[in-house]
């Protein structure tokens, strides 16, 4: 073996050793680059999917959170390749996580509920809703809480966990809403005439919708009154006004035709009435 051959062999050995040493660094770099590409791709995907569901500021926070989250996970995965033991970090992180988790259980619950509410969108800003027995307009849907303005004009903050776990009634989700009344008339009144009067009023009122077809009928022969049911639909935006107007018109128009809402009454017969009358005579 001459000097050149020895030199070549030595060089090859050094290259193999260096390659073994450099390889983990290259792999870590590849993981990092791949994670950045993945994070960017995921951000673009999230932006496109959630653009209509989140407002700009909140979407920005979510995108940044997901972007850096993916990169941090990649770094933690890459660190053992560089000979850095992350088990201690993970243990410390785990313990810290448990402590923080217990301490901020409700905060995290509200945060996660808020994200789900934003994604599921059972309510929108401006909707009229009933949540946890509070009725009003949705003023804001935050990450931690939802703000309602009730019909008295009061500001009400409801934690998102409560919003998410409670029954939500969205009053304005549909474009039409039904109006229903029960109207009692006397047994001596003509029920068919009353039905016609109410039907004419329904036909004349612009906001009582032609379809779904309104319905008026005798529903019950009550103790004191013949009970008529009135079912009609109105645009959700006009429901309250229409309901108010129509009921009063029904009352006044029935009275104009001498059809009255009866008072509760009971006819009492006395057992000795006949004999008393005989005595008087």
């Amino acid at each position: 073996m001459n000097l050149d051959e020895i030199f070549d062999t030595l060089i090859k050995a050094i290259v193999v050793i260096e390659a073994d040493r450099i390889f983990p660094y290259i792999l870590a770099l590849i993981i990092l680059i791949f994670s950045i590409i993945l994070a960017k791709g995921f951000s673009v995907f999230l932006r496109r999917s959630l653009r209509d569901r989140f407002d700009k500021d909140r979407l920005g926070i979510l995108l940044k959170g997901s972007y850096y989250g993916i990169i941090i996970i990649a770094v933690i995965l890459a660190l053992p390749l560089l000979g850095i033991n992350t088990s201690g970090l993970l243990v410390a992180g785990g313990v810290t996580g448990i402590v923080i988790g217990f301490a901020s259980q409700s905060i995290v619950g509200n945060l996660i509920s808020g994200l789900f509410i934003m994604a599921e969108r059972p309510i929108k800003i401006g909707s009229q809703v009933e949540i946890d027995n509070v009725r009003g307009f949705v003023e804001d849907i935050g990450v931690m809480s939802t703000i309602l303005r009730n019909y008295d004009g009061l500001f009400i903050r409801i934690p998102n966990e409560k919003v998410f776990t409670n029954k939500i009634i969205n009053i304005s989700a549909n474009i039409a809403r039904r109006i229903e009344y029960t109207i009692g008339i006397r047994y001596t009144d003509d029920a068919e005439k009353a039905i016609k009067i109410i039907g004419d009023l329904i036909e004349d009122h612009p906001f009582v919708l032609k379809k779904p077809t309104p319905d008026v009928y005798v529903n019950n022969l009550g103790e004191n009154a013949v009970e008529l049911i009135v079912k009609a639909w109105a645009p959700a935006s006009q429901w309250y006004t229409t309901k108010k107007e129509l009921l009063w018109k029904i009352k006044t128009n029935l009275e104009k035709e001498n059809i009255h809402v009866p008072f509760p009454q009971r006819v009492v017969w006395f057992a000795n009435e006949k004999s008393d009358n005989n005595k008087l005579n």
């Binding site: 989700a173 549909n174 474009i175 612009p206 906001f207 032609k210 639909w233 645009p235 006009q238």
Partner: protein, 239 residues
Amino acid sequence: MYGYYKFPLNPLRISKDGIHLQIKKDGNNLHYERTILNDSIEKILLTKDCGIIINPIEAHKIRNQVTPYLLIEYEKSVFVEPKGTNNVYITFPVDIGVFISGHKNYDLLDIFTLAKQKYTLYGDPRNGVICKYHKSPVLTSIPTDLNPLINGVIKLKLINTTDAWMEITKTVFDSHEMKVYFNENLVSMKANMKIINEKIAETEFVNSGIKRGMKKSLEIFEPAKITVSQKKYTMEEGI
């Protein structure tokens, strides 16, 4: 009644079919007053010279801005033969717009109607739309007994693109796209209804009157006023 009333408007008095409209001097300005049945409105016009244009306009959101859609239900349903194209005439409720004009510009001053106001739901409460409702006969010629202050005529071309007989009971229009034409005796529009299948149809307006010499009304939804992007309305909840 329809037309352009030039300066000087003091005084301007119009009374027709229960519509009372007047403009009179109020100090240095003008005072607009309109009464129709139990509904009246007054406005102050801070100008000394302006013109007034009274036009029939597209079915607009007169009361409380409920909807831009108009549903016309036919008194009798119509059957269209496979691949057939037919013209029919239906009526529509006229809305009347009073525009103030001057200084090379105009704007809507007042809007009212003599036609009966009624609304309906097209589709279901979840996915449907609230529409202004009108019931119309289906005619094969232009009706001659209509009051142009109350009802107009739509020449509707029914185009059946399917291989089956199609029964049509109603048509829904988007009033953003309405093109209203008028003369002294008639208010009209021209529209097409393309039947895609037994549930779906497309409606669109044609920018033309149904008689020669008819004048085009001013549009509220002109591109300069409100941007309108959609040209057709797709009826997806049944025909």
